[in-house]
Each structure stands twice: as C-alpha cells, then as structure tokens.
C-alpha cells in the first residue's frame, strides 16, 4: 500500500487532500463531517477582523456552466469571507482541532493591509491550535473592492510586506494563496518568497461571468436583476491552474518553494497531475460542493491504487516528477516528427477527423476512398498537429506515431534526423545562436 501521509511545511495530514477555504469549511458542523468522510485537512473559511462580520447577498451566490447531462463543469461564486463572528469561528476551530488532532487545520485570514490588523489577529488564531495560516490574497470579488483579497495579490510589494508581518508575528507556518488574475504568476510567488513565506497555494478563483440571462439581459448569478463578476472554479479551470503551478515549480527564483495545488481537482488523476507538476498537496472545493464529502474516498483509493501499480511508495516519489519536462517552446525538439494514425478497426466512421482537418487544418485525412466512406491519414500532408486525435470521439482510435530517425517524412521530403535541434539554433531564427568557429 502506498503511503499517502503528507507533510506540508511541517503540517502533517493522513493524506494530501485538503478542503480549500470556502463554504464547505465555514463551520465546525461541516468540517466535522469532512473529517469523518476522510479528508486529510481543511483550510477554514477565511476569517476577517474582529467586529461586525461581513454580510453576504441574500440572493443567488453561484453561477455555473454544465455539460449536456447537467454535469457541472465550472462554478462561479460571489460569496465573501466568513460572515460569522470571529470569536465563534475561533472557538469552533479550537474544538475541532482537539477532536481531530491527526488532521491538518489551517486558518485562512484576510484583514486590511495594515500591520496592526495582522498583528492583532495572529495570536488569536495561534491560540486555537491551528497548524498554520493561509493568507487570502486571491478572492477576486467584493473584498477586492475594499482593498483586500486579490487587490493585495495583484501587487507583489503588498504581498511581500504582509507575508513579512505574518512571519514576524506568528510561529505558525505561512501559506500565501495567490490570485490567478494577474499576467505572470511568477511575480507574486517571488514576492511571497522574498517576504519569507513557507509555501504558496494556488490558484484562487478567476474573475468571471458564467452566463447571461438573455430574457433579462442580466449576468448570472443575478441579484435582483444585476450581476457582478464572481470567482470561477471547478473542472474548467484546472488547465490554467496546472500551468501556474508548474511555472512556479520551475522558476529558478522560487524553485523548491512548497506549493499547495488548487483548481478543479475532481478525481485522483487531477490530484496526481498537480503533485507531479510540483504541488506538495492539493486543495479541493468544487468537487465536494458538487458531490459531497464522500468524493475524497475515490481520490484516496485512486491515488493509492495508481501509486501501487506504478511502484511509487510515497508522495515524495511523485511530487515534481513532471517539472523537468515542462520547458519553453523554444527548447522543443524540431527534429521530432509524428504522424496521426487511424486504427481502422476502432474507427466508427463519423468523419469528424476528416472535416476538422479539411475545413480547419491541413487537408490530410481522406473521406472517401474508391467510392467507400473511409478515413485515413495522408502522411504527405499531415503536420502532426493532433487536432484529429482531440476531436475523435473514440479513445485511442487515432494516435500519434513518431517517425524513427532515418525514415523519410513524406510531407517535407526530408529524412528524420536523429539529433535534437530546437528553435534557438534554427537557421530561420534571426536570433539563432551560432556556435563559435
């Protein structure tokens, strides 16, 4: 049995699946249920300053996009941080941590960008016995209008400053949660590291309008006829999150900085992808909000079974394993040539590969051969783009087959070179680096 125990910046949990700071972690009632279901840890829904709590809208807080069977693909929300009094949350956190000493309990915090505010709340949180804190620099709606959340996360100098205060006023590990609503995720990550953060977590939600009510011309979710952009999450955001995680994992300035991966984790496979791209653990929200807490059982067994099958014994065996294979475009091997190949036994003759290639790409797939409906790749036209593979409804019907070095590429009329060569040395590149004589 693979060992799924997780040690993330000294915070221990029986598995790498944490619930992200969000509605599912707002109360002891929910968190108790989550721990009973098997979650390794929770990041308690974001705490604000002492005093009157924030208020939420009393109309819809969520919008969604669906697949045809109403499978939820993406969710957006306009809910703010916890709207319960600080003391109530702190008392419940303390009790839950006592009840579940083996689980991770992290406090998410968002207070105004003032040193005194952070100085005031940190000892209160520390007193609960929480294992660490997560700085919410990501929330893109509502709080950002008040100079908090992503308003901080979008200014690297503020990130560095607040992280520094937190490291100064608490012994607890500091996880800095980043917003994806920026142009280059490496800058806020670098700032967090300069401030001394123990880890970063990402991504928070993405600014979004999920849809528009075309009868009332109102964005969804619509509160009394008006809508505001919300934070987008769920399966649809995973590719964006994976890229941002990998960017930080392979950036020389932040290399080795622990990352808690967040963004559309729905299955064990999603989690494994985050881990191999450099995440030390993952946080989940939308999958739990869609299916309930039981979903973690699939994640645990799936990850464990996959690790057993592949002979990976612990999480450290897999974390970051794909990072060395993430590179810049300019380093991709231009001498590698692949051609699409259609398995005629698996082909159901829908013709989508043909029409995709014919209408929108390279005219490299037949539709009719000798008067018979037949789909086959013309290797002298195929550039190896992979579009046909992606539009084919049958898994593994179309595959990309690499040409062996020494064989002829019928499209270019050139023999496939055995050597690696990339754009940096390509003759068409005016900036090509020519080796010194």
């Amino acid at each position: 049995m693979a060992d799924l125990r997780n040690n993330f910046v000294g915070i221990k949990s029986p598995n790498p699946f944490w619930l992200a700071s969000a509605p599912p972690t707002d109360k002891a009632y929910n968190v108790e249920r989550a721990f009973k279901a098997g979650w390794g840890g929770v990041v308690w829904k974001t705490l604000g300053s002492e005093g009157p709590p924030v208020v939420n809208v009393n109309g819809p807080r969520y919008g969604a996009i669906w697949g045809a069977d109403r499978r939820l693909l993406g969710l957006n929300n306009i809910e703010l941080i916890t709207d319960r009094p600080l003391q109530v949350n702190l008392q419940e956190m303390k009790q839950v941590k006592m009840n579940w000493p083996d689980r991770a309990l992290i406090a998410s915090i968002m207070v105004p960008c003032v040193e005194e505010e952070w100085k005031a709340i940190l000892p209160l949180v520390e007193e609960t016995g929480a294992d660490g804190i997560e700085l919410n620099f990501g929330c893109p709606h509502g709080m950002s209008e008040r100079g908090m959340g992503s308003a901080v996360g979008q200014v690297p100098e503020y990130i560095e400053m607040v992280v520094r205060w937190c490291k100064q006023y608490t012994r607890m590990p500091v996880i800095t949660k980043l917003t994806p609503n920026i142009t280059d995720i490496r800058n806020p990550a670098r700032a967090a590291k300069r401030g001394g953060t123990d880890a970063v977590s990402l991504i928070n939600t993405i600014n979004s309008i999920t849809s528009v009510d075309l009868d009332n011309f109102a964005p969804v979710p619509s509160v009394d006829g008006k809508g505001s952009h919300g934070g987008y999450c769920g399966p649809a955001v995973k590719p964006i999150a994976l890229n941002m995680v990998s960017e930080i994992a392979r950036d020389p300035e932040t290399y080795g900085l622990p990352i808690s991966g967040i963004g559309g984790v729905t299955t064990w496979r999603d989690a494994a992808e985050f881990l191999v791209l450099g995440a030390g653990n993952v946080q989940v929200c939308t999958a739990a909000m869609t299916y309930g807490f039981k979903i973690v059982q699939e994640m645990i067994s799936g990850l464990s079974d996959w690790m057993d099958e592949k002979g990976h014994r612990s999480l450290s065996d897999i974390t970051g394993r794909a990072v060395p294979n993430v590179t810049d475009w300019k380093y991709l091997n231009l001498n590698y040539v692949a051609k699409a190949h259609i398995d005629q036994d698996a082909c159901i003759k829908c013709g989508r590969c043909h029409i995709a290639c014919e209408d929108t790409s390279h005219q490299a797939i037949t539709s009719m051969v000798n008067g018979v409906r037949h789909f086959e790749v013309m290797e002298d036209e195929c550039v190896g783009c992979n579009l046909c593979v992606n539009v084919c409804p049958v898994e593994n019907c179309i595959t990309m087959v690499g040409l062996e070095p020494g064989t002829l590429d019928q499209r270019t009329g050139k023999v496939v070179e055995p050597t690696y060569a990339n754009w940096t040395t390509h003759p068409n590149n005016p900036m090509a680096q020519v080796a010194a004589e």
Binding site: A68, K349, R373
Partner: protein
Amino acid sequence: MHRLGSGIAGGRLAPAEYEQNFSDLHPRFDKHEALVASDRCYFCHDAPCMTACPTEIDIPLFIRQISTANPLGAARTIFSQNILGGMCARVCPTETLCEQACVRNTAEDRPVDIGRLQRYATDIAMEQGRQFFHRGAATGKTIAIVGAGPAGLACAHRLAMHGHTAVIFDAREKAGGLNEYGIATYKAPDDFAQKEVDYLLAIGGIDIRNGQALGRDFSLQDLAADYDAVFLGIGLAGVNGLGIEGEELAGVDDAVDFIAYLRQADNKADVPIGRRVVVLGGGMTAVDAAVQAKLLGAEEVTICYRRGKEHMNASEFEQDLAASKGVTIRHWLAPKRIVGKDGAVAGIELEYTALRDGHLVGTGETGVIAADQIFKAIGQSFKASGLGALAMEKGRIVVDDHCRTSMERVYAGGDCVSRGEDLTVSAVAHGRDAAEAIHSAFAVAGQPAVAVA
C-alpha cells in the same frame, strides 16, 4: 363478455386496460431527456443517417439545434425536408433507416434516438402551431392530386409553397391515407394524423375533396383535361387473398380493415376480437394486427409466416414488440385450409414449408391451430380504375426519377409506383419531389423564347 369468452366479441377488458393498452407506445422525451439524447450525436461529417433517410433530413443539424435548446429551429430543419416529419417520427422503422446507419452502433451498439428526438422537436412546433412555410405568390396553376395520403399531402404542401393551388381528391371520409387508416392505434394516439393534416393545410391553397373516388366519380382523363398537372398518390387499395378453402367463413378478415376499424373506433371496447387469433403474414401489417388483437384482450395470438424470421418484412424491433406483448411468431407455416364449424372459423390447417433450391415448397406435414378469428396480412395490391392507358409494370405505375408517368403532365408517387417502398417516409419524398418536378416543368414551359442575336 368476459376475458375468456369464446368467439369474436368486444369488451374483453376493463375500460382502464383499453386506455392503457392504446396509449402512446413511446412517450415523448421531456426537455432533459432530449438534451441527454441529443448530446450523443457526434455531428458526423456527411452523416450516414442523413443518407439513409429517404427524405434526407439534416439529422445532425436538427439534433444540434435541440441540444442548444432550439427545438423550433430543429422542427424547421425537419419540416423543410419532410412536412410529415411528425408522423414519420412515430412510424418510421428507424431501426432499418437512420438509426441503423448511426455510427454509434459501431461504437456501442446503441444508436442516437433519432426518431424520438425528431418527435420531440416536431411535437413542440405543432403544439405551438408554429408555421415555418408560407404560400408562395399565386401562380394561377392548379394541380389535381388523387389520394390524401402521405405522398399526396406532401406534394400539395410543396406545391403551395411554390404558389400553386392543389385540389386533392380522396375516396375516404378523412384525409391522411394510411396515416389515418393504416397505422397501429398506439403509434399515433390522440388523433395525431388529423392534427397533422390540419397543421399541413394551414399553409393555404390546398382544397381536399373527400368521398371522391377515381374511376367512380372521375377519371384520370378528366383531371388531365381540367388541371395544369396531376399527381397520383393512390397507394395500394387492394388486399391479397389466400385462395384456400374456408376463406369465406365468418371470422376471416383482412388485417388492414381491422386496423382501420380499430383506429376509427371511439371506444376500443366496441371492437370485437377473437379469443384465439391467427394472423397470416410477415410484415408490419401482420405485427400491427397481432399486437392490437392482443391489446384488445385476445388470449392467444399467433403470427404464422410461410418463410423464416430472416425473411420477415417486419423489422426486428416490431418482432420484439410483438413478442413482448405476448404474440407468438411461428415461421415456415403456410395456410392450407380454414376449418369451419357452423359457418364460422374454428381453426386453420397449416402446412410446414422449407426452402429447396431457393424455392419455397410444402413438406406435406400439416398441423391445425384452433382459432376463432383469422386475419389476412399477406400483402396489399394495386387496385384502381379510371387510369386509362397509363403504363404499368408488375402491377405498379411506372415513373422515372422525377416521378413522371407515361402520360404528359401526370406524376405519381408513394406505394402505387414501381419504385414504391411501402414506407410513409418514401411516399413523402416522392410527393415532395413530384411537386418540385411539376414546379420546374411550369418554369421551363413559362420561359419566354429568347432570340439568339
């Protein structure tokens, strides 16, 4: 009368059972079911389903329109090729047409539910009374159509779109042809055939004259003289006979008459049925009669077909339907003699058959099945008078690819022509194409002579 009473009698079932037995065979999809079903369509390139449809409905397009919550757009796509798309959605043997061609069969042995999706879209449009086509600017041309069945109605509608006037003559009391008189009751409940006729006629410019029979009230010659063109969609009015002893006995009936009578009966309990029923034949008519005999409360219903299962014209689906309703299908049995008692049917003697050198022969062995009612469903035949010297081939009207007969300005389509296929949907295609051919012929004839410089 109670359930097990001998002889031929009505009222074998409780009223609620009749209601249940003759309700919709396939209830309509609701919106969510339609969305899920439509999502299974791959939107194939040069889609095989479309090629398999005699009316060439753009199936991938209409299914995609359903999937984007645009059922009215889907209905427009369907009706633009097949104005009787509502009935075709109910009665087409989709399992041998579009759904057989669906690539999902190769992928997972289950096609997209094309027929039910078509019904979903067309029902919504028809219930909302949405008309997608308008009568063209009047041309002054009037076309006579004989037969208000699927071919004649489709022809009339397309002619109206082009601005021509259509006058339809039909011998029966109601329009619709086989849609009204020849379809099993549970396939088109709630008077759907008449609703469809009304929907189609709403375009205007179509005049239906019921109770007018060709050969009795008028001749083809009369029509050709009085109208700009003629379309014959007269179907197959004749019924094949057995030519065996006992055929004249009380209780030996034509299946098509039974089906028509049942369709027209307001109260199904009034329709008498035998306790033991034998249906002779292997086509859709045989199945429709047998299943409905069972639904009326017959205790034993047996279809006897003189060839094997693989030769039956009834589709696999229809055969399975019959079996699921408790009908027994027996193969390789040919009727030899109907046994009577006191002037009424008591049973039927059948001879076992076999194929020898490609010929069907009797083996000499016989058996008797007790029966108090026998339905003949061994095929319909061409039966018409008043056609004059119209060219015929194998008992059907000869037509070319444009539905033109041997007579100038006379067109024909549907079951009555040499390339008829016994399918509603093919009849619709013929009627529509004949209308286009008639319209083109008018256009060509109407072109002014052009001087060559």
